[in-house]
Amino acid sequence: MKLPAIRADFSAISDWVSSHSSLLDLGCGDGDFLEYIRQQKNVKTYGVEISDLSVLACVKKGLDVIQQDLESGLALFEDQSFDMVVLSQTLQTIHETETILREIVRVGKESIISFPNFGHWSHRIDILTGRMPVSKSLPFDWYNTPNVRVLTIADFEALANNIGLHIIDRVVLHDGKKVTFAANLFGSLAIYRVKSAEL
């Protein structure tokens, strides 16, 4: 089966998803990941998305989607009601960072969080030369980016520790390949598997 234009994190995320489980994709966009994971695994899925056009795109794909702003939390979802909650390359677009992270591990027995790593060496060089980075993982200019929070791998791990997120596993990618050495310098995309430290 040909799966064109799969985002690099899809297959890494998919490895952590069990069959016959329930999965909630927060900020699911046009439903590309949900469509992908449903081809890979037998999972009961829902997406959450704010954009009208993306909700429509999901409906066109026959996906269950809930139109909602993630900034206002996840009141529609009960504690530990999903086997897996996914926040794929969406964290950096949310203002209420702490709220959403706490909400994710409240709702999900496990959660997967991926984000572009601002700490990649090419971004550091851009900053040193005096310009905001524009790259494959951060493809926007400063004036039109949907990203409202820029963070590095080290930043995320510090916050996770502070707010009671237990990191179960981590994969760091660059150009779709795993980065095992100096991840914060050589990785452009970080993917974490987490759960609440209290549970």
């Binding site: 329930s22 009961k44 829902y46 009208d52 909700v55 429509l56 999901c58 409906v59 066109k60 794909k61 026959g62 996906l63 269950d64 989607v65 809930i66 139109q67 909602q68 009141a75 529609l76 979802f77 009960e78 009601s81």
Partner: protein, 377 residues
């Protein structure tokens, strides 16, 4: 095929229907209009449930009055609910006043109009009569049951009462029960009707009168609640009802001074011309009584545990009569049961009435939803 292929039917039922109140009615008949063609597998049928003042005439021009169906922008050839693919049934509910058995009908036992003796009907009762209607057409399972407002309550009730007989429930601008504020509005409307001297305890037919002024007030109060504040401000503002060349000064009397008054009076008059007061009482009471979670101590998730249908729930941001949070309660209960549900919150300025109006995002969504529907054999 591109014609609407309208068929108007009166379907008679001899077997008594036992109502939730314990009362029963027999015989009774339902007015029905169908559009499109039922396929051989009978898997493409969609039932449209109406709200307070609508009828079985859902789409197309009425051959007698020339009036357009109340959801004509939604249903027809090439429309979001495409009658080239689906067989659509519009039904006038029991107790309504557009031809189905109701308070205006003759009670066979007394040879007089039922009037106030017509038993109270509930949303659940309507759904039961609609299931018999499905039997009449030989439809084992609807592809979808769809409605807005009170019609959405029926679609929700279908999912609970007949989980194996409906594949998709489409619940628009609705709620799992009325709020106290909503019941209060209904009570004002009923009070207006019942305190009209022409009401005669509901038996006004024999007197040759109708409680017009009560009905007018009922409609006016209802109408205000169907619009948003912004919508009214934009439509009418504080404009005075004057000829274009007349001075824009107050007349210091109680005639129609403001445009908004003129509009409400017009709506009230129009409504009093075509709607039956007893039906208004009955249907508002059916709205008040609807509460599927009542037997589960208000736990809607428990009440919806039986659901097998997939749900599409839609609300409109400026609808304060059936506000988005009321739709979210339904969505949450479905999610608690891991039932299939899609929820869209349409940012539209027109209040509750938005569900009847053209809105590209709303209609595109319904169109996409129906296009994706897999029809069971």
């Amino acid at each position: 095929m591109s014609s609407l292929n309208t068929q108007s039917l009166t379907i008679e039922f001899q077997e008594p229907i036992i109502l939730k109140s314990g009362a029963q009615i027999a015989p009774y008949s339902l007015e029905v209009q169908t559009y499109g063609v039922l396929n051989i597998q009978k898997s493409n049928a969609v039932l449209i449930c109406h709200a307070l003042n609508a009828s079985h005439h859902v789409a197309g021009h009425d051959p007698d009055s020339g009036k357009l169906g109340w959801w004509d922008n939604m249903i027809g050839p090439g429309k979001p609910l495409d009658t080239n693919h689906f067989f659509v049934i519009g039904v006038n509910n029991l107790g309504s006043c557009f031809g189905s058995t109701g308070p205006m009908s003759i009670n066979p036992n007394t040879q007089q109009p039922y009037g106030s003796s017509f038993p109270l009907v509930t949303v659940e009762d309507w759904v039961n009569t609609q299931a018999r209607l499905a039997d009449h057409f030989g439809i084992q399972k609807f592809a979808a049951v769809m409605g807005g407002s009170l019609g959405g309550m029926q679609a929700l009730a279908w999912g609970i009462q007949y989980p194996d007989r409906v594949d998709h429930c489409i619940v628009i601008a609705s709620a799992a029960n009325l709020s106290a504020q909503n019941i209060a509005f209904n009570e004002i409307a009923r009070n207006a009707i019942m305190s009209d001297p022409d009401f005669h305890e509901g038996n006004y037919y024999a007197q040759g009168v109708t409680p017009r002024s009560g009905l007018r007030v009922a409609r006016m109060i209802g109408h205000i609640t169907y619009l948003s504040n912004d919508d009214m401000a934009e439509k009418f503002g504080r404009e005075l009802k004057r000829n274009p060349d007349a001075p824009k000064e107050y007349n210091f009397n109680f005639d129609t001074e403001f445009e908004v008054e003129s509009y409400l009076r017009y709506q009230g008059d129009k409504f009093a011309d075509y709607f039956d007061a007893n039906t208004y009482l009955l249907i508002t009471r059916a709205l008040d009584y609807f509460d599927p979670a009542k037997n589960d101590s208000g736990n809607l998730s428990k009440a919806l545990a039986v659901v097998k249908s997939k749900f599409l729930v839609i609300s409109f941001t400026t609808d304060w009569r059936f506000a988005p949070e009321r739709s979210r309660e339904i969505v949450k209960a479905l999610l608690d049961n891991k039932s299939s549900v899609t929820y869209a919150e349409i940012d539209a300025p027109h209040g509750h009435d938005a569900f009847l109006l053209d809105d590209e995002r709303y209609h595109s969504l319904i169109r996409a939803y129906f296009s994706n529907m897999k029809l069971d054999n």
